[in-house]
């Protein structure tokens, strides 16, 4: 809502700077987007009097004008506007003046003729083209005849005004009007506002009821009020300049006297009004009802609209002529030829209008106000004011009487609140009088009984119904700056992370220590990506009306998002990337309305984790690097059950020979490996290694009961074994066999060499392990260890076909 400071002065005595007023409004009422000064940046733009206007000899459209700009001699200006003529008062941009769009006007020559400046149209002064009246859009703007040559032009066209652009919150619909804003400012500055009065002269010879009839078929909830007035003998013409200025400074385009009058009253009272061409009505009959399926209406904007059964429509003879509260119909539009007006002042249900505005994507000044509420006590006053103004501006006559389709009994809200309650909520120690004074400033009639206020809320503040609303009124007018600043007291509580939160936080730190940087990717992705890399099969949770297929489904995995991140980096020549993400994935649950949200943690690495440096060769990442990260992380979780890795060929997006499923005990908790070359190609990433773990599953796993193990005082003995073995035999199988057969004193099995180069026969590999033996209670005897070691060797040979070297 744009509030003209000049207009505001009709109501209140205000002489503070506009910026200060704006700040006050912001601190006490609603947000202010800014103060607009239309003349800002404009210089040396003055009134000119066209003394002489002759055609340019070398042009078919230019005119050479001699213009009085208040100086001793007239100046010569060449003008191309079709409407320039001698005797007109015009807007002159003098040489070296600044006009709209930071444009400087200089002396120039046009087809050989000197032009000392420019005659201007409104848009050349920076007017939004949408606000310029159509009839002056194609030429220069003609000022009133009494404008004084040489004077700055701004005051003649309202550009000297300051406009406060308020961003009104949904609850403060009352401030979407000058009257409402004036009431608010009156309370803030403790003034008594001068409210507009209506002087309506009715034509006793014509009774509105004789010519106009209204029936409201829609229920009272949908249409609590519907009234009309009849104005006859109108002449449609442009509005006077004062009205046009108010209209365009409010951010609307002046149209004609009737439309501008209704818009003016809309701005003043916040009451939407609609003017129908009376002659377009069938037998002066109007009825209001819900639209029927299949009905259509062509609205003012020329759009033919299919009406829904939730749309309220104004009809004549049951034929829709207007979409209630949103936009009029083309057939009943006021045109230049209109001679009589049926003027509607009505209230429609906020929810219905909201739905209609939303469904038809028609958001108008009217619908915006209906959605936020209307002062029910001012509808008829506004209707009267508009009728009077239309009659005045159009030389028309107002028929006697209001045609009432529906009228409701408006009851003001009565709200009680005690002083102690108020102070209790605000943390203040306001006195009985301080609060009473605030209600007085608000002009809310109040009685006090003991320490309880009974407040009668005027209908213009329909947002106030409950004690909390009054608390807000008191708090904001008392001033939030004046509130004390404290912290909650009361019974102390413990603030700490729960186990899950702690493990999640620790997990992030562990990943970072392992060299992975945290990424936060989008949870919404394509359906295909959402269900790729899934740890468990699940339906994808899809949006009902996605904005794009790119963001249409909730992810079942984190890897696809990380690969998108890698692709983004890859495209920007960042080829060494190590990221992890911790976040939710969404498994749909057939019997539940909502999917199950599971915390996952995943990583993706590509390129090298250590860059080439003076002493370091960059080593490309590989399977064992990412597995090391995963293993180190899992170790730190102190899981009770052993972690194991098993070759997996079940993930179609993964390299079938370089992927392992990860188990804790018998529970599948994730996988690790290289992405399939086809996946890499599809994502436009290079060789990439990834893992994904079900973090919730890991958190739920029993944890190792940690207990101190005495450190043996006795020395350990080691034995190395090297063997040649079939390629198919896994390290895991060998270690398991060694561990099973190693005897009571075997403490550790460490793989220290793997070789499958040209020195071993095809299909074989060479592996070497160090076995460490130690006894808690005594020094080991060499013979004993040798015996145990021999047992292992035999087992390796017999069971796995190893050839000991």
């Amino acid at each position: 809502m744009r509030i003209s400071y000049a207009w505001l002065r009709d109501y209140l005595k205000l002489d503070i700077p506009a910026d200060e007023l704006a700040e006050k409004i912001e601190r006490t009422a609603v947000e202010v987007d800014g103060v607009i000064r239309p003349s800002d940046g404009l210089k040396k733009v003055v009134v000119g009097d066209v003394l002489e206007c002759v055609p340019h000899p070398d042009s078919d459209h230019l005119h050479i004008c001699q213009v009085d700009v208040g100086e001793a001699d007239p100046i010569q200006i060449v003008c191309g506007a079709p409407n320039v003529a001698a005797g007109e008062k015009v807007i002159v941009a003098l040489p070296n003046s600044w006009i709209g769009g930071h444009t400087k006007i200089k002396r120039s020559k046009m087809r050989g003729v000197v032009s000392n400046g420019m005659l201007c149209a409104l848009d050349e002064l920076g007017f939004d083209e949408k606000l310029v009246p159509k009839e002056v859009a194609d030429g220069i703007f003609i000022l009133p005849a009494d404008a004084k040559p040489g004077e700055p032009v701004f005051s003649y066209i309202g550009m000297d005004d300051e406009i406060i652009d308020m961003s009104v919150t949904p609850n403060r619909g009352d401030m979407l009007s000058m009257n409402g804003t004036a009431h608010e400012l009156a309370a803030i500055y403790d003034q008594k506002p001068t409210m507009p009065t209506v002087e309506l002269h009715e034509d006793a010879t014509e009774l509105a009821d004789d010519q106009l009839s209204v029936t409201v078929q829609a229920d009272e909830q949908a249409v609590p009020m519907y009234k009309m007035r009849l104005i006859k003998n109108v002449t449609i013409k442009p509005s006077p300049l004062w009205l046009q200025i108010r209209i365009w400074n409010a951010g609307m385009r002046p149209i004609n006297n009737v439309v501008d009058a209704t818009n003016y009253i809309l701005m003043q009272y916040g009451q939407p009004l609609h003017a129908f061409n009376f002659d377009s009505l069938t037998a002066g009959q109007v009825n209001v009802r819900f639209a029927k399926a299949g009905e259509q209406l062509t609205t003012l904007d020329g759009e033919k609209r299919d009406l829904a059964e939730t749309d309220l429509v104004i009809c004549s003879d049951d034929r829709p002529i207007c979409l209630a509260g949103t936009m009029g119909g083309l057939d009943s539009e006021v045109t230049d030829k209109t001679t009589a007006i049926a003027l509607e002042g009505a209230i429609f249900d906020a929810v219905k209008i909201r739905k209609t505005a939303h469904n038809h994507n028609l958001h108008s000044e009217a619908s915006m106000r209906y959605e936020r509420g209307i002062d029910h006590s001012a509808t008829e006053t506004a209707l009267d004011a508009a009728a009077a103004l239309i009659a005045e501006l159009s030389d028309g006559t107002v028929a006697t009487g209001v045609v009432v389709g529906r009228d409701e009994d408006v009851q003001p809200a009565v709200v009680k609140i005690s002083l102690s309650r108020l102070n209790h909520v605000l943390g203040t120690e306001l006195s009985l009088d301080t609060v009473a004074d605030i209600f007085r400033r608000l002009d809310f009639p109040t009685t006090i009984d003991g320490e309880t206020y009974t407040v009668t809320v005027p209908a213009r503040r329909w947002d106030i119904h409950i004690p909390a609303d009054l608390i807000e009124e008191v708090a904001r007018l008392y001033g939030y700056d004046n509130l004390p600043s404290t912290l909650p007291t009361g019974q102390p509580t413990i603030g700490k992370l729960n186990e899950t939160q702690q493990i999640i936080r620790d997990s992030r730190k562990l990943m970072e220590s392992a060299g992975l940087t945290q990424a936060i990717s989008y949870s919404l992705t394509t359906e295909a990506k959402a269900k790729s890399f899934a740890l468990h099969a699940s339906e994808v949770t899809k949006l009902d009306f996605p904005m794009s297929s790119e963001r249409s489904a909730l992810r079942l995995n984190l890897i696809s998002g990380l690969l998108d991140d890698l692709a983004y980096n890859n495209a920007r020549k960042e080829h060494d990337v190590a990221l992890y993400e911790e976040g939710r994935v969404f498994f749909s649950q057939p019997e539940q309305v909502r999917p199950k949200e599971v915390e996952h943690i995943a990583g993706a690495i590509t390129g090298s984790m250590v860059q080439t440096a003076w002493d370091t060769e960059a080593t490309p990442v590989d399977f064992y690097q990412i597995k090391g990260i995963v293993a180190g992380y899992l170790k730190s979780l102190a899981l009770a059950a052993p972690v194991s890795y098993a070759t997996s060929t079940t993930h179609p997006e993964m390299h079938p020979g370089r992927t392992a499923d990860i188990y804790v005990g018998d529970d599948l908790v994730g996988f690790v490996g290289e992405i399939h070359p086809a996946t890499a190609k599809a994502y436009k990433v290079r060789e990439t290694y990834v893992f994904e773990l079900d973090l919730d599953a890991l958190i739920a796993q029993p944890k190792e009961h940690q207990q101190y193990q005495p450190i043996s005082k006795f020395p350990s003995i080691t034995r190395d074994v090297a063997m040649l073995i079939d390629n198919q035999v896994t390290n895991a199988a060998i270690v398991k066999l060694i561990t099973d057969k190693g005897g009571a004193h075997l403490q550790k099995v460490q793989l220290f060499d793997v070789y499958n180069g040209k020195h071993v026969p095809a299909g074989k590999k060479s592996l070497a392990y160090t076995l460490t033996y130690q006894d808690q209670n005594g020094t080991l005897v060499d013979d004993e260890i040798t015996k145990a070691f021999e047992k292992v060797l035999t087992a390796l040979t017999d069971t796995l076909g190893a050839e000991i070297r």
């Binding site: 601190r27 209790h424 807000e472 912290l487 936080r505």
Partner: protein, 348 residues
Amino acid sequence: MSLQDRLTELRDQGLADIKSADVLKKVNDVKVDLLGKKGPITEVLRGMRDLTPEERPKVGAYANEVRDKLQSAIDHRREELELAAQNKQLVAEKIDVTLPGRQVPQGQPHVITQIITELEDLFMGMGYQIVDGDEVEEDYYNFERLNLPKDHPARDMQDTFYITKEVLLRTQTSADQPRSLENHDFSKGPLKVLSPGRVYRRDTDDATHSHQFHQIEGLVVDKHITMADLKGTLTLVANELFGDQFEVRLRPSYFPFTEPSVEADVTCFNCDGKGCAVCKQTGWIEVLGAGMVHPRVLEMSGIDPEVYGGFAFGLGPDRFAMLKYGVDDIRNFYLNDVRFLSQFYKKG
């Protein structure tokens, strides 16, 4: 030559040899030569049997004295040479300490996580519990229980991704409020929770809009919670994030789930309140929304608003990060360009 004189001669010669020994080996050679079993001092001592009993102790004592002197000279010279050798080695071992150290891969937390963690820690210190609500929520909890019935105009402020008619991606972490309220046992003390998390709005992504972003919602409900407590808490948050040199102002606002509702602005840290592009010439930066919990919200959760009251506040870490670090495009937070992520390696 008397034995004494012989010893004196040996001593002087020995000391000279020791002094001139320039490597450790020579010192050792001198030691073996002089003090060894076959050395001249041993020989002198052996000649003592020819002395008179009166002379013997004197010569013996003198011989010991000479031997000790030589030994200590040898030790001293050895130390000297060792030290010199070590010093020489140290000089030779000199390196360019300005060469970069060997890299240890090190990742870092996302800037949004840094802000969330900072606030979590601040509020846990004040006895708040951290609550992680679901990202997929029912319309009922996300809107209706927060006093936003269907067709409420304020729903326009939050265009929503729906999954079904009744299930949606939460538009606000306030969606946790009703669940926290209905689950809390007030006999165990006040409800003090902080809910950080991802939220979603049906917005087209551009420099200032993201369909996914983060929110942190705080909620306190007890018998004696005041708006002054809210003001104090918000000031604390603003000071934590921007520093305590800035002024905080509250101004009226509207949220359906709080009444009164306020927004908190902080003096623009970029221009100190003078007005600049960051604060759109206002001198203030809007940092959070808050208010006293609406009685309807308490009622709907089965809490008597006559007895209990509280405050709630919400803020956006994405917006904070943009303001604080001058990030000009919100999409940066979700594209995960390593050149972006790696800039936020420290707090503050």
